[in-house]
Structure formats: C-alpha cells, structure tokens
C-alpha cells in the first residue's frame, strides 16, 4: 500500500529516489525531443555538424595561422578548433535547451505532476545525438588529416561528456528555474553563451595568455576540463591536470548550486509559469 502526504514544502531533498522511479518518463521526454528536433527539415541530422564545421572554417581562415604561430600549436589548427567545438556544442546546446525547457513545457507542468528535473535533464540528453554525429565526424577528420593519435585516450571521452554535461545541467537547471519567473533569461542567454565562448579555451589553447588572471579564468572555466580530456587524443598532447582540477571545482559547484536552486523553487513553477 502506498501512502504519502501532500503538504507545504519544508524539508529539502535532491529527489533522486523519485527521479529513479520515473526513468521511463525521462526516456520518453528525451525520445520526443530527439524525434521532434529535425522534423520538417531537409538536412536533418546534418545540421548537427554543419554549425561546428562552419565555425571551424571561419576561425581557421581568419585566425588559424595567427593562433598557431603564437601558441606554437603542433596540430593543424582546424583539428584543434573542431575538437574544441565538439565539447563546446555539447555544453552550449545543452545549456540553451535546458534553460528554455521549463518554459517550453509550461503547459505540461501546469497540468500533471512528475519530478520536474526530468525536463531539463531530458533537454540535455536530447543533444547527445548531435554530439554523437559530431564525434563520428571528428574521428573521420583525425584519420583524414593523418595526424598522430593516442587512440587509448578516447577512453577519456566519457569523462569529457560527463563534465560538460554536469556543467551545462548545473547552469541549465538554475537558468530554467529563473526563466520561469523572469523571462529575461530567454534574451540574455544567446548573448551569455556567445560571451562564454570567448572566455573558454575552445578556439585557442590556454597557453595563449601570459596574464595570470586571464589564465585563472580559462582554467576555472567549466568546460576547460572536458576540453583537456578530448584533446588528449592528439599525439603529443599532455593533459594539464591543474586545469582539469580547477575546472572540475567550478563544474561541481555549478551543478550543486543549480540543483539546489531548482529543487528549492520547483514547487511553485505551476503557479508562476
């Protein structure tokens, strides 16, 4: 016999147990987002790779030579940039999807109860398909360029995905919750993500700066750790564990804070949305 109480919220919990009971719904939400994403498009999944390809081309053409020279990059710049965009797209698409997810699903939230966390989580999981396609292209590029590759370091890929996902989920949960109350988030977000790109060692290596403070900003960047793991596949690349450590501190804090804020406010989403 199930017996439970419905009463004003007073005790805080992360709610993982309940989330686990609803794994099927999480699956269906993710499945829906994936299915719907490229409906009625001609190019379909190709869109997943067109954006990073285009960005890579632009950066390689205009800045590639300069950055390579200044940082003494040992791998072709286009490969380096693409590896960065691989992670960056995973992070930024997840963040943007998650932040808008609660508002986009407001009609469901107002009518049915289920653990609200399912919505931002599924929004992020749905971007994994795009990531997988981009990853395949990355491997193809590695082979095509005939560069030296440490294949064994592909085993670090799950860690890269985990860190990037935790970071985007943390920020995403926070912004999704804020977005329910303040719709400004929708307008700030593209701007914020664009700005963050230039504060992240995505299109350039960390060694680009000699300034101590700028270096710290890049090291504490939530995606810096994931980028280290991905770039570990390049033949001569050595992982900067200090960066990984700093970056993971940011990631964990972001995740815990986002989760806390989301759980704290979720009970009133239906009243505000």
């Amino acid at each position: 016999m199930i017996e439970y109480e419905i009463k004003p919220q007073n005790k805080f919990s992360f709610g993982f147990k309940e989330l686990a009971r609803y794994y099927e719904l999480l699956y269906y939400f993710t499945w829906r987002d994936v299915k719907v994403k490229y409906k009625q498009t001609v190019l379909g999944l190709l869109w997943a790779v067109l954006q990073p390809i285009f960005m890579t081309l632009v950066f390689t053409f205009f800045l590639g030579a300069a950055i390579s020279q200044q940082t003494k990059l040992e791998i072709p710049y286009s490969l380096f940039a693409f590896s960065g965009l691989l992670i960056w797209t995973l992070f930024s698409a997840g963040l943007s999807n998650a932040s808008n997810s609660m508002v986009n699903n407001a009609n469901i939230i107002k009518k049915i109860y289920f653990p609200r966390l399912i919505i931002p989580i599924s929004a992020i999981l749905a971007t994994f398909i795009d990531f997988a396609v981009t990853l395949v292209l990355f491997v193809i590029l590695l082979l095509a360029y005939q560069v030296e590759v440490q294949w064994i370091n592909f085993l670090l890929m799950p860690l890269a995905i985990l860190f990037a996902t935790l970071a985007s989920l943390g920020l995403g949960m926070f912004l999704a919750a804020v977005n329910v109350k303040y719709r400004d988030v929708r307008y700030i977000l593209p701007f914020f993500i664009q700005g963050l790109l230039f504060l992240s060692p995505v299109m350039f290596p960390i060694s680009i700066t000699k300034n101590v403070w700028a270096l710290k900003v890049l090291q504490f960047n939530p995606v810096a750790g994931s980028l280290e793991f991905v770039r570990a596949v390049f033949g001569s690349y050595i992982i900067d564990w200090q960066t990984v450590f700093y970056s993971s501190i940011t990631t964990v804090i972001l995740f815990l804070f986002g989760l806390f804020y989301f759980r704290k406010t979720e009970a009133y989403f239906a009243d505000l949305a």
Binding site: I2, L25, I112, Y113, A267
Partner: protein, 402 residues
C-alpha cells in the same frame, strides 16, 4: 476501513499584485520594485480550511461556481502546486486529468503520442502496451495511427486523448471537465466509460459544470463556495443547494420606468409581471401574472391583446403564448390580473427569459424585453436522454381575466 484520501485543513494562498498588469515578472520590474512600496500586494485565499475524506471506491462530485476553488483543489490533490496550509494523506496512486491530451505533440504520430501521453499521465510502458489495442479501438483513429497528430481534426485529437486517459489504472482518478469533448456520440461513449470506471471500485473525484453528468456519475458531492466547503453529502442534496443558490433570476418585475422601453406607443403599458418562483422542474406547472396600467387618460379602446414569449439561453423563442390565437375577447382594465398558465413546462434544464408584449388600438403598445427569468433545474423526464430536445410543442394553455 481507512479513507483513501484525507484532506485536512487545506488552504492555498496567492498573492495578487495590483498595479502592473503583466503576465510575468521581468528582472527590471523586480529591480525597480525594490524602491517602490510593496503595499500593492493583496493576499487571496483560493482555498480556506478545506476538510473532507474520500473512501475507497467512492465517487465524489466537486461542484461550485467559477472561482469557488475547484481547480485549485484539484491542482493541490494532483501535486501540481503545494498547499499553503494543511495536508493531504493519500493511500493510492493519483492520476489527474485536468486536461485531455497533455503532452501531445503535433509532430509526433498518433501511435507515438499514445506512448508520450500515457507516460506523462503516469502509465508504465508495459501498461500502455497491454492496453494499446483497446486505446486505439476506443479512439477510433486506427487508420491514422502513423499520421502526425497535426493532420488530425481537433475531434480526432480529443478522442485519442480521452482514449489514453480512459485506460489509466491508478487507484484514484481526478477528472476535470474532460467530458466536454467530441460529438454527441463520443460524449455518450465517454460517459459510459466514466460510469464503468466509477463502478469498477476505483475512487473518482469529478469536477464539472455539467450537473447531469455529475449526478449520474457520483454518489456523493462536495459544494465549494469562495474557497470553503459549503456542503458535503449525498449528491442530490448538494446539487439542490447549488441549484437554489445559483439562480440569478427575477420572478417579479415592477415597471416604473416604462418610458425607457423603446418599443410601443405606451398609451397603455405593462405595469408588473410575476412568475412566482425561479426554479422549476421540467414537468412543473407554470403561471405568469401580468398587470397593466394606463398612461393616457383618453385610452378607451377596450380590446387588447397580450403575448408571452419564453426564450432559452441562446435567444431561441421556445414558446409563444398569445391571446391573438384564442377566441376570447380581452379588455383593458387596470384593476385586472391577466394570467397565462401551462400545465407542464416541458422544458429542459437551463436558463430561460420571458418577454411580454401588449397590443391596443391595433397598435403595439409595449414590449417588456426579458426582464423576468427562471431556471429549469434537474428533473426526471429528459435528463440525459437526449440533450438536443429543448422543448415539446405545447398545444393548449388556459387564459383567464379576473
């Protein structure tokens, strides 16, 4: 036996902001709001001290006017929003249908939407698979199962939505107004299914403005008024109280302001109209009394005609009772009481208004436009048989001048 639902002192407070009429806050307003006084916020209790229990297998109809707190109560019961005070103890899984088709996505096919919607409503995949054929069969859309939902007609979408909801296996079902879907035939099918659910031993909480549906589905009722429980009891008692409370009709009209009425010469005019009571049953006797008055002293044409029109809520003229069609000669007398009566109203449930027309000197003298109204409540003769019957033709009426 322990009750399956215990609602204890439940209250829900909302804060209403008065000054700005914005659908949502923006950061700017919040920042500027720091410098403003916050006196514009007003507390509003959508629910106050609500207590009741529901036993397993009971079907409870929750009724009340718009704004009485029904939807808020359902939202709290379905855990969409938490109560401000009190608590609810539930001893079963609650499924709430506050809307049919929650989570339907226009780009997904009918088949995919069944899984999506079912899952959102709390069904396990295995449950959906088990009932899949029955759901499709009930909805009657099997031919379009793999067509995107956006190509469905709205009726088909509703049918599919109801079909999914109809196969929920939760112990407690909360249903809000979902019956208002589809055509008459499908509505009948829905009603049948709901009756089946209610009698299958599951607990049903049902909210609707359709009193006939509430009456046929529920044994017990709960009447909410301004966020408080006004009466809990057998459905008939609750409905009676609701009906008698809820009638805004004039049974008597004294026309001192006859000059405001546009139609007619007003040499003579309608002074008062009285229908004695405001709530009738379909097979009740009906009588309307009319008094006339004279405006011009010179009016001496004795022969006049009177007519009474009854309009339904859609302004259809369902009855016309006129002395033109009777052989009786009627004369003007300001001391007379003119009365029309019907042995049986033969009208279905609803709100009706009355127009009174007066002729003298072979000219229109006055028309009193729908100032008097009455309500037909629940009765025995037409209930649920055919909602399309509005009235029967009434062949005879009696008329007297006394």
């Amino acid at each position: 036996m322990k009750p399956i639902l215990e609602i204890q002192n439940v209250g829900k407070k909302y804060l209403i902001k008065h000054e700005e009429q914005q659908p949502y806050l923006s950061l700017r307003d919040s920042v500027t709001g720091i410098f403003k006084s916050k006196s514009s916020k007003e507390e509003f209790w959508a629910l106050k001290d609500v207590n009741f229990t529901v036993n397993p297998g009971e079907s409870l109809g929750i009724i009340g006017k718009n704004g009485a707190g029904k939807s808020t109560l359902l939202k709290i019961l379905s855990r969409i929003t938490p109560p401000t005070t009190g608590k609810i103890i539930s001893r079963g899984r609650i499924a709430s249908l506050l809307e049919v088709g929650t989570g339907f996505h226009p780009e997904l096919s009918g088949r995919e939407n069944i899984f999506m919607n079912g899952s959102i409503l709390g069904m396990r995949k295995a449950e959906i698979l088990k009932n899949f054929d029955a759901i499709v069969d009930f909805s009657g859309v099997e031919k379009f199962l793999d067509t995107p939902l956006k190509h469905y007609s709205s009726g088909m979408q509703l049918r599919l939505a109801f079909a999914v909801a109809a196969f929920l296996e939760n112990e407690i079902l909360i249903i809000d107004e979902v019956l208002a879907v589809g055509d008459a035939e499908f509505q009948k099918k829905c009603m049948g299914k709901m009756g089946e659910v209610a009698s299958s031993g599951r607990t049903v909480l049902f909210v609707s403005h359709n009193m006939a549906a509430v009456k046929s589905l529920c044994e017990n009722g709960l009447l909410l008024e301004n966020g408080e429980v006004k009466l809990e009891g057998k459905i008939n008692e609750v409905l009676d109280l609701y009906n008698s409370d809820n009638i805004e009709s004039n049974t008597y009209y004294d026309t001192s302001n006859f000059g405001d009425r546009k139609r007619g010469l007003k040499q003579i005019y309608i002074k008062s109209v009285n229908i004695h009571k405001n709530l009738y049953s379909p097979n009740d006797k009906f009588q309307i009394d009319i008094q006339l008055n004279k405006n011009e002293v010179l009016f001496n044409n004795k022969e006049i005609h009177l007519a009474v029109f009854i309009f339904d809520i859609l302004q259809n003229n369902v009855y016309q009772l006129s002395t033109m069609f009777s052989s009786q000669k009627i004369s003007f007398d300001e001391r007379s009481l003119y009365s029309f009566s019907l042995n049986q109203l033969n009208l279905t449930k609803g709100h009706y208004t009355i127009g009174v027309w007066l002729q003298g000197n072979n000219l229109e003298q006055d028309y009193l436009d729908q100032s008097v109204s009455f309500e037909i409540g629940e009765g025995t003769i037409y209930e649920l048989q055919n909602p399309l019957i509005v009235s029967l033709l009434q062949k005879e009426f009696n008329f007297s001048q006394s």
